[in-house]
């Protein structure tokens, strides 16, 4: 009795906190837009800086631009939804929500800071909570998955850190700050090394082929909320890093070497899609489809055109929300039916229409149905990539575009097997539809998807200035040998 009370208290605190985060981030957005309308053109707004390790030039300096703002909004949304979805958690509640909050904090910190060291601090702060979340509340081969996830991410972050030290030394040990380093003109030889280090390192976080294998196992063993965070937020940390650090700070190398990642991304997109087609387990399916979808992000970033980068950012947010919704729906089904095998399910739409509909919506989003966020972001990536002339880039774009068919195939298979059809298992006739918390979470995420999908111009307006900045740096880069 007492325990139940206590748990409820904890949950309500978590809920209040995450709702507050959402409110605050919305407020910030409003302020930001107002400032921009008054014509402020600094790259980062709301800048602040506190001394941390002065001798090492490490300052806790923060600043927000459109891209990070978009990320923050997405994070806040997903976090709130995650808390709501995990309302039914009844084992080690305190620890669970504590770890969730740590994760969300690390994400916020990562997005708002402009100091590379602090960025790395938050990047790595996010690793261990994932390990524990999967290990302690997970299912299946949780030991293996959690350990693999932790180690691969650690390897990625090691690469990232080496790259960051490189940048620090390239600045003559004067600054870790993105804005200062952006002013530098780093010799191209250095750039090459650092670019590869950083992009690959962040790529591991983004589950870039061939460093993606932590994603399927991790997602499949993770509890619902953890999967939502993992695919929704953590992968975006990597993507954001690829854009903000690797590409933006090392334009010369980006122009020379981005082809490598274009290849990897195209492989990831098409091969991830085909691999998804063969999955029976819904979570595995969505994990692989995430691999395929974040491929679009990498592709957009690596194509180095303004439109493509815009598309990449859109895709980050869109995929963040969409995959969160997908995992939420899968999780709700799993909580009830206790199986995630598509062929063992069936008739869900008949028995639990709300959840079934949520599943269908997320599915349609992920296959890029107009009106949902997936469509606009993918189309932007395609149009942007097509601006890159040359048979190689065109080929990559066509390959990527081809994946929309495969996506349709596996999404519809999943819907056909799991959601439509007759109720095969008599047990399922007892299933109850979504609870209030789950409904709220779903509605929140759907609203997010719809806002981007129906009014993309708002989004583009938000990030336009910053993508321009990045693009300017990319084209106006002078090679130093």
């Amino acid at each position: 009795m007492i325990v139940a009370k206590k748990e409820l208290l904890i949950k309500s605190i978590a809920l209040a906190g995450s709702s507050l985060q959402l409110v605050i981030s919305v407020i910030i957005t409003v302020l930001y837009v107002q400032l921009r309308q008054t014509g402020t053109t600094d790259q980062f707004l709301f800048q602040s800086s506190y001394v941390w390790f002065a001798p090492l030039k490490i300052y806790f300096s923060s600043g927000i631009d459109g891209i990070s703002l978009a990320m923050i909004l997405m994070t806040a949304l997903v976090v709130l939804a995650g808390v709501l979805v995990s309302w039914k958690i009844n084992k080690q509640v305190k620890e669970f929500f504590f770890l969730l909050i740590v994760l969300s904090l690390s994400a916020y910190g990562f997005f708002i800071t402009t100091n590379l060291f602090v960025m790395f601090f938050f990047l790595e702060l996010a690793v261990i909570p994932k390990f524990l979340l999967i290990g302690m509340w997970g299912s299946g081969r949780k030991e293996y998955s959690s350990m693999k996830l932790a180690l691969m991410l650690m390897a990625g972050s090691a690469l990232v850190f080496l790259g960051m030290i490189g940048l620090f030394y390239a600045s003559g040990m004067q600054s870790w700050d993105i804005q200062d380093i952006a002013k530098l003109n780093i010799p191209i030889a250095t750039q090459r090394v650092l670019y590869l280090l950083l992009f690959t390192g962040f790529g591991v976080f983004t589950a870039m082929f061939p460093f993606h294998t932590w994603a399927p196992d991790g997602h499949s063993s993770a509890p619902t909320a953890a999967s939502m965070f993992l695919a929704g937020i953590s992968m975006k940390l990597g993507a954001y890093g690829c854009l903000r650090v690797a590409t933006y700070l090392l334009p010369g190398a980006a122009q020379e070497l981005s082809w490598i990642f274009i290849i990897l991304a195209s492989i990831a997109i098409i091969y991830g899609a085909f691999a998804t087609m063969m999955q029976k387990d819904l979570k595995y399916m969505n994990a692989y489809s995430s691999v395929s979808h974040v491929g679009f992000i990498i592709l957009g970033i690596a194509m180095l055109t303004k439109v493509a980068i815009t598309g990449a950012v859109m895709q980050m947010v869109s995929h963040g929300i969409m995959t969160a919704l997908f995992f939420a729906a899968i999780g709700m089904i799993y909580d009830r039916a206790h199986t995630r095998q598509a062929n063992e399910l069936g008739g869900m739409l008949k028995q639990i229409p709300f959840i079934g509909t949520a599943f269908i919506i997320s599915g349609l989003t992920s296959l890029g149905l107009p009106g949902f966020s997936g469509f606009v972001s993918e189309m932007t990536v395609f149009v942007g990539s097509w601006e890159r002339a040359g048979i190689f880039y065109r080929g990559a774009t066509i390959l990527a575009a081809a994946s929309i068919v495969v996506t349709a195939v596996y999404i519809l298979r999943a819907i056909g097997f799991a959601i439509w059809g007759n109720i095969t298992n008599k047990e399922f006739l007892k299933l109850k539809d979504a609870t209030w918390s789950e409904r709220t979470a779903t509605v929140l995420l759907v609203v997010g998807i719809l806002i981007i999908g129906l009014a993309p111009f708002l989004f583009v307006h938000l990030i336009n200035l910053d993508t321009t900045t990045i693009y300017q740096k990319l084209i106006s880069n002078v090679l130093v040998h």
Binding site: P210, T213, Y271, K350, P370, F375, W420, V460
Partner: protein
């Protein structure tokens, strides 16, 4: 914003509203109420459409002797770059208005009809929601000002069709059909998308009219750059247009992408009438018509290819239609064949003076076909409703049981077989004469096909309403006012739509043309039609073994046609065997075994092995420790001296 623009906005907006309304309140509303709301909304849009159409054709549409496109509304939805952006908007021009009439009228009728037909269905409200969604997307598609807007609504149409085909979502066959329809069209849309990308990059715009203007003007730099490069003898522009056409071919079920349409008949019959007969399937025709100037002026070779594909599909589908026994499938194949008619009509048309009649004829046929084909489907629906089967063998002699259906069906059959004075006659004449002027081969194919058409349609007719009456059926006419009125309204269209002087309204250039009509030309096609009808009468008017004899005579060919020339099997082979087993499975395997197994787990194994390998070092013997110590010293000496030297 004048009243016309406002009402044209309402035309799109109303169905969307009713969709939203019905979805959100699907639980609360009583089914009947929901249905009536949907129907009334559509009726309103239909009325508005007529208002707008009248306004356009007899008022603001005409500028110095030619109809020009009128942008009722346009706003930037998603800006890619300075010259590329997705605009949403509403354009009024002859073809769009014509399509508006078709869509709203047929859709209204279907809504009305469904009130009875779908009575007592679970998810009744949801059905109406989907119908409204479809209507909304179709209208948006037709009114698109921007090729990307068209693509957006193109996808929406696809998904709503998917939802409607899969309306009986507990029925495996329905699920399969829905998936098939969506995936096949999606595959085609990929072509469309790439086509758009190429076009947009070449024309530096996504706006239809700017694009047309830039790619048709002689000596425009865009056009020059486009036609400069060529691949396999076709210019880049032709390739782009062909890719776009591929999208159209997917929706309009041109060979070889036609396979989804027959299966789509799994959906409720009114849906088939609306989507898979009258409206969505003609989207491809509309798309080509929309880009017609570019086709005709800058890429006639692409147009020619379209003509041949159309002609072949027309014949091919007609042959299959002769052999099917499921009445809805017969109608489906006839639909394919008829749409192919429209396609090749566009294909044979050109741009110069007097060559554009094919264009008009195509849209004309689209117009008339919508009515009689919808009528046929709704009639078939009535029959199925009455006897709960759509197999021919369960039918026969129903003319007494279903008088109204009988009459309306007969009219429709005559119309589709091109028997004067019914509507089909006029449009088909126009098409054939256009073909005869430009391409004899296509003309002959079309001619023969029209004969076949008459044959299989009347085979259907006789087999259902005459032949050997089936007893033990409670064959009273179950349908009530709603279904009947729908049939009766449509029969008017099927009968008299042909009398409209279509050419004076719709033409490629906008300036009115006169569709040639000379009885001397009509003799041949009509006689072909009559022959077809006679043969059908000969075989199927009463029970006999004549049909079977002939079938036996045709033998292998008949079987092939009966099995739709095994196209489905080929597709099945490609997907199941090739895609799944040769690509999907290996990909999944590769990921688990190679990437994960070797790259990732391999590292772990190697580390373990290393740890085992250096185990002996820690032997526990002080002396061996000391030896390692000395070894270390030597190592240091070596290192230092290497540096020192």
């Amino acid at each position: 914003m004048n009243s016309y623009e406002l009402s044209s906005l309402l035309i799109v907006a109303l169905p969307l509203m009713s969709f939203a309304f019905l979805v959100l309140l699907s639980k609360q509303l009583k089914p009947r109420v929901a249905g009536i709301i949907g129907t009334l909304t559509l009726a309103t849009t239909a009325i508005l459409t007529f208002y707008v159409a009248a306004g356009y054709f007899f008022g603001f549409g005409m500028e110095n002797g030619a109809y020009v496109h009128h942008i009722a509304l346009q706003f930037q939805w998603l800006k890619f770059s300075d010259n590329l952006s997705i605009d949403l908007g509403i354009v009024l021009d002859p073809i769009s208005v014509a399509l508006l009439i078709v869509i709203t009228v047929v859709s209204t009728m279907v809504h009305l009809y469904s009130l009875n037909y779908m009575h007592g269905e679970e998810y009744f409200a949801r059905y109406y929601a989907y119908l409204s969604l479809f209507t909304f997307s179709m209208l948006g598609l037709v009114m698109a000002v921007n090729i990307f807007q068209m693509y957006i609504f193109w996808e929406l149409v696809g998904v709503s069709s998917f939802l409607l085909i899969g309306f009986y979502f507990t029925k495996p066959s329905a699920i399969a059909a829905a998936k098939k329809a969506f995936i096949v069209t999606r595959f085609a849309d990929l072509g469309f998308l790439i086509g758009i990308l190429i076009l947009s990059h070449g024309a530096k715009t996504l706006d239809f009219f700017v694009m047309i203007q830039r790619l048709t003007q002689a000596g425009s730099p865009y056009l020059a750059h486009f036609t400069a490069t060529s691949f396999l003898g076709l210019s880049t522009l032709s390739w782009a247009l062909l890719l776009v056409f591929a999208g159209g071919a997917g929706k309009s079920a041109m060979f070889p992408l036609h396979i989804w349409l027959p299966d789509a008949m799994e959906g409720p019959t009114p849906v088939s009438a609306l989507i898979h007969a009258a409206t969505m399937v003609v989207a491809g025709v509309y798309l080509v018509a929309r880009l017609f100037p570019i086709f005709a002026i800058s890429a006639p070779d692409a147009l020619l290819i379209i003509a041949y594909i159309g002609a072949f599909t027309a014949l091919f589908a007609a042959v299959i239609a002769c052999t099917q026994t499921d009445i809805k499938r017969v109608l489906a194949y006839s639909t394919i064949s008829q749409i192919a008619y429209m396609m090749f009509a566009l294909g044979v048309s050109g741009w110069g003076e007097g060559q554009t009649e094919g264009f008009t004829a195509s849209i004309f046929h689209l117009f008339t076909h919508a009515f009689f084909k919808a009528l046929l489907f709704l009639g078939a629906g009535a029959i199925i409703h009455a006897i709960n089967s759509n197999e021919m063998k369960d039918m026969g002699g129903l003319r007494k049981a279903l008088p109204i259906t009988h009459i309306t069906f007969l009219v429709a059959c005559l119309s589709i077989s091109g028997i004067p004075p019914f509507s089909g006659f006029f449009s088909k004449e126009a098409i054939l004469s256009a073909a005869s002027h430009s391409n004899m081969l296509v003309y002959y194919v079309g001619l023969f096909t029209s004969g076949l058409t008459a044959f299989y349609m009347f085979r259907l007719y006789f087999r259902i309403f005459w032949y050997k009456p089936v007893q033990d059926h409670h064959n009273h006419e179950k349908h009530t006012w709603a279904m009947n009125s729908a049939l009766l309204v449509l029969v008017l269209g099927a009968a008299f739509a042909g009398l409209i002087p279509f050419g004076s309204f719709v033409s490629a250039t906008g300036s009115p043309i006169i569709l040639p009509f000379n009885p001397s030309f009509s003799v041949v096609p009509v006689s072909f039609g009559l022959i077809g009808i006679f043969l059908a009468y000969f075989f199927f008017s009463k029970e006999s073994d004549r049909a079977d004899k002939t079938v036996a005579y045709f033998g292998g060919f008949y079987r092939a046609a009966y099995h739709k020339f095994y196209i489905d099997e080929i597709y099945l082979f490609i997907t199941k065997k090739v895609i799944f087993n040769l690509i999907g499975r290996p990909a999944a395997w590769f990921d688990r075994t190679v990437v994960n197994g070797i790259l990732i787990n391999g590292t772990a194994v190697v580390t373990e092995a290393g740890s085992e390998a250096i185990k002996p070092m820690q032997s526990g013997k002080v002396q061996s420790y000391a030896m390692f110590f000395l070894g270390g010293v030597l190592l240091l000496v070596a290192l230092l001296f290497i540096q020192f030297m």
